[in-house]
């Protein structure tokens, strides 16, 4: 069998890549997708832990995570549409109205 460690390391790699994209990409939608990537990585870890313990709690939690991710994606994309309409750009560095 595949040791749990492997899954965990994979989860960490995916999470790290997600954070990397979160910081270094400039398109708002891409940044949003990186958030989804991070969530997926975490889901993987949850499921990976549920297997050796024999309980299904991890999987139930994953279901909830997916639901919340969906809701969040809906609202977030709505906001992104608004930003795109108002600022005519999808470059996150142009949305700097909070500058002091």
């Amino acid at each position: 069998m595949v040791p749990t460690n492997y899954y965990v390391i994979l989860s960490a790699i995916l999470f790290g890549l997600g954070v990397f994209a979160f910081i270094f990409k400039r398109n708002i939608i891409t940044i949003f997708m990186s958030i989804e990537l991070m969530l997926n990585a975490v889901n993987l870890a949850f499921v990976a832990f549920s297997q050796p313990l024999g309980k299904v709690d991890g999987q139930v939690f994953v279901l909830f995570v997916i639901v919340v991710a969906a809701a969040e994606a809906a609202v977030g994309l709505g906001i992104i549409i608004l930003i795109a309409r108002n600022r005519q750009t999808l470059n996150v560095e142009r949305v700097d109205l909070l500058k002091l």
Binding site: F22, I23, R26, V95, L100
Partner: protein
């Protein structure tokens, strides 16, 4: 009805002038002079009557020391200071002098100040002074005495600077207060030391305790000596002795009644009173006694020399006051406390008279104070002349006037002094005698320059007129007192009976005084008396010759002794010395160190620095708010790292995480 109503309510005596002061101060601005007069003279007069009644009751009770605690002012731990008043023989003398002479001067002032502005203010301050002075003499502990002490200093400042729009007057007021303060510093330290040593500042308890202690040896700086020297420092400030006398001549800027009351009869005698009151302490400190005597003797001589050449009539009297105060301290310093108090009383009479009469002269001359511009006034202002002559005879020490008895008793005690050895006594006697010579000289010089000779002023410009009755009447009364005031001691001199005055004060000064007259002391006394009178006559004669017979000689003398003359005229340059040595450095320190250094750089710098620091921090932190979302994203990651770090490394958090999985 209590047995001794006035003594039970002794606090009324000081309170009445306070009431008068308050009423005049608050409401007097709108009142005509008449009503202000009634309030001022009435309150002082009633106070005098109250004092008389209290004294009468005191005698009736068999001269038992009366001590009453009216209310507790400070009660802290073991220390208690109350508004305690007492009445004993010494207080009798002081309170009668203060209220009596004070009342007479109030009456005089109604005439003198009649045309001045701020009339109500003057009497308000004058009454305030009376209140504090009475507190001072009636106090039964050092703390309350100090309240009166400070209060009279305050009133003196207010009254000296009465014509505050004149710079010299307000400067003089400040000078008086500040120099006094220096003395007060010593007084307070003395009080603290006494409290530390004896645990109480109440006179009766303190002196009872102190009496049981051994006396300090001569030259040894024990507790007694240091405390007494400190108290004496305060007395030097208040009573204008070396080196803190410089304020008194300047204080002549105040109106003449002020000079008479405060700087002749009462306030300046407060120092003598304190030394006399603390005689038990001084008796245990022979070094301090010696210091007092020497300072008194030298001040007497020193001030007399300056008075020789002054031309302002009030300045002559001011230096004369310093000189006579020196006599009183000399007396106390050689142990003759009752002689000192006796001289205090007679001095109050004739010095107040001298000042009031001088005021009358000034009033007659329309404000002129320079003697060189007077002359030939004896026929024009008869009564003033007669009373002033009386006072001069008294101060010079001619019998049977008051000054003769008191001064003589001092000189005798000085001659017989044992403190520090007989030689010290003889030296001090020499100073005293020389001072008597000079006193007679300059007083008669004053008389001759002012009243005799040809008028040295333009008779058409100055209309010389006698003073009104309300100014003359006090002069008369004081002249009478100057004549008869010394007769209490006369029987001792004549050999027919005891010296009633010192007999009266015996219960107070009992253990300390030199014993009464014996046979050989009697002949010594008579010899010394004759010597003193002859000296006074010599002084008067020289003045007569110089100023009446050969007036042109004075200028020649002045020219030939130019250096000495100008030194004396410039008061030995003491004021200039103080200005250079004390005032200038102090001002420099105040400006540069305290103002520029501590205040502007330090305190303002700290406060402003905090403000500037806050601004600087804000300026720095501002850059975090860049508005750039990517930077914010990085900060999110930083936060996540911190949280994970806490969970991982924090002792409890980390174990909990790992433990959970177990």
């Amino acid at each position: 009805m209590p047995k001794y109503p006035m003594l039970e309510f002794l606090w009324i005596v000081p309170l009445l002038p306070l009431l008068g002061s308050a009423v005049n101060g608050l409401f007097g601005a709108k009142w005509p002079n008449k009503i202000v007069n009634w309030v001022a003279i009435g309150s002082t007069g009633l106070s005098f009557l109250g004092a008389l009644e209290a004294v009468r009751e005191f005698f009736e009770s068999g001269q038992v020391l009366f001590h009453e605690e009216f209310f507790t002012w400070i009660a802290a731990g073991n220390f208690r200071a109350g508004f305690d008043l007492q009445m004993d023989q010494l207080t009798v003398v002081m309170v009668l002098v203060v209220t009596g002479v004070g009342w007479l001067i109030h009456i005089y002032a109604t005439g003198y100040m009649a045309h001045e502005g701020g009339y109500y203010r003057f009497f308000s301050y004058l009454n305030l002074f009376m209140f504090f002075m009475l507190i001072l003499v009636l106090a039964a502990n050092y703390v309350l005495l100090f309240v009166g002490w400070e209060g009279v200093g305050l009133s003196s400042y207010l009254l000296i600077g009465f014509y505050f729009l004149k710079k010299s007057a307000s400067d003089a007021g400040k000078k008086a207060f500040i120099v006094n303060r220096i003395g007060d510093f010593g007084f307070m330290l003395g009080m603290f030391l006494l409290f530390k040593a004896f645990g109480t500042l109440d006179f009766a308890q303190l002196f009872a305790k102190a009496d049981r202690w051994p006396a300090d040896a001569m030259g040894h700086l024990g507790t007694f000596t240091i405390a007494c020297l400190l108290l004496f420092m305060g007395a030097c400030g208040k009573s204008a002795q070396l080196p803190l006398y410089v304020w008194l001549p300047d204080a002549m800027e105040g109106p003449t009644p002020v000079s008479a009351l405060i700087h002749a009869a009462t306030m300046v005698t407060a120092g003598v009173y304190v030394v006399a009151r603390s005689h038990i302490l001084f008796a245990h400190a022979p070094t301090a006694m010696l210091v007092v005597a020497i300072v008194g003797g030298t001040t007497a001589f020193f001030a007399a020399t300056i008075g020789l050449v002054q031309t302002d009539i009030k300045k002559v009297l001011a230096y004369s006051t310093v000189s006579q105060l020196g006599y009183m301290f000399l007396a106390c310093g050689v142990g003759a406390f009752s002689a000192g108090i006796f001289h205090l009383m007679t001095h109050a009479f004739f010095k107040a008279l001298l000042f009031l009469a001088a005021g009358s002269v000034i009033h007659a001359m329309g404000g002129e104070q320079d003697m060189l511009r007077m002359g030939g006034l004896s026929k024009k202002i008869r009564w003033t002349y007669v009373t002033m002559l009386t006072a001069t005879l008294a101060i010079a020490g001619f019998p049977p006037f008051a000054g003769f008895f008191s001064k003589d008793s001092i000189l005798l005690s000085t001659f017989e002094n044992e403190y520090g050895g007989r030689n010290v006594g003889y030296a001090l006697y020499g100073f005293g005698l020389a001072t008597a010579l000079l006193t007679a000289f300059y007083m008669f010089r004053l008389i001759f320059l002012t009243f005799h000779g040809r008028p040295r002023f333009d008779e058409h410009k100055v209309h010389v007129h006698e003073s009104p009755n309300n100014m003359l009447a006090p002069l008369m009364v004081l002249a009478l007192l100057s004549i008869v005031g010394g007769w209490l001691a006369a029987p001792a001199m004549l050999g027919t009976g005891p010296d009633y005055f010192s007999k009266f004060l015996q219960p107070v000064f009992g253990g300390v005084e030199a014993a009464g007259a014996e046979a050989e002391a009697r002949s010594l006394e008579v010899t010394l008396a004759i010597v003193a009178v002859l000296t006074a006559l010599l002084g008067a004669a020289v003045a007569y010759w110089l100023y009446l017979k050969r007036p042109e000689k004075t200028d020649a003398l002045a020219k030939s002794l130019k250096p000495a003359y100008s030194t004396l005229l410039n008061k030995y340059y003491v004021d200039e010395l103080y200005a250079a040595v004390v005032v200038k450095p102090l001002l420099w320190i105040s400006t540069n160190v305290l103002w520029k250094g501590a205040d502007i750089a330090g305190i303002d710098g700290a406060v402003n620095g905090i403000a500037e620091g806050a601004t600087a921090i804000g300026d720095g932190v501002r850059h975090a708010q860049s508005g750039n979302t990517r930077s914010y994203a990085v900060w999110v990651v930083v936060g996540a790292l911190v949280v994970i770090g806490v969970i991982f490394f924090w002792p409890f958090g980390g174990k909990a995480v790992i433990g959970m999985v177990h």
